[in-house]
Subunit: 136 residues, 2 copies
């Protein structure tokens, strides 16, 4: 089980990190994610870290790299499900997760992605996306 | 990391199983799931097993138990992301996953849940749910 599964939900790719990330797992995840973004044309990547007890500099760097790769491929990255203790540790360690957007849970993350797409396309009208998240 | 995270997306609870299930993890997951169904009033439980290389009788039984518990709490369970090799092994082992509905991926699982809710509520009109999945 060295591969973190990537789930496609509408316009969003959802990744739930539950295992300890090794170098290899992290690289594989980045590769898989980049491929899936291109293959599906999704505009949002949501990374759920509910299961993580700690986010060290390695994981923090991995999240930043994923966000940067997604950005280049025209996809927004949102990290969701951070535990209060993880947030406290992050700040204490001096890791600020630069360039990474966060949300409380998956639903809010989806709203954030939809909202940022709507901003870009507001003259065209992104009502469909807004409606999808409004039902949540 | 002994707890499998449960993600709420709209009317659905999503569980992605990525770790080897021990007795304790399975019981905790069942308890957590039952509590979340009651707390959120969700009508669908989607269990993603993309990451599982094998589904043995223990995991099969756990999935059946979860489906039964959800049923009693008025929620539909759909298992998604089964690998071809897992399906073959299941049949060879004589495990037929009785009473468990399956779908190819999360999106189809969501459609299945929405469709079964629509069937129940067709006279009231479940258009909102149908629209949510139609965007996928």
């Amino acid at each position: 089980m060295e591969r973190v599964p990537i789930l496609k939900i509408g316009d969003i790719l959802l990744v739930s990190i539950q295992v300890d990330m090794s170098d290899q797992t992290a690289v594989t995840l980045q590769d898989d994610l980049a491929e899936r973004i291109v293959a599906t044309g999704c505009h949002g990547v949501i990374i759920d870290i509910t299961a993580l007890d700690i986010v060290d500099s390695f994981v923090g760097r991995m999240l930043s790299t994923i966000a940067s790769i997604s950005k280049v491929l025209d996809a927004e990255t949102v990290v969701v499900g951070m535990r209060p203790a993880v947030a406290i540790t992050l700040v204490e360690l001096g890791l600020s997760l630069n360039g990474i957007r966060t949300a409380l849970n998956v639903e809010r993350g989806m709203e954030l992605v939809a909202a940022s797409r709507d901003d870009e396309w507001d003259e065209v009208g992104g009502d469909e996306d807004a409606e999808t998240t409004a039902t949540s």
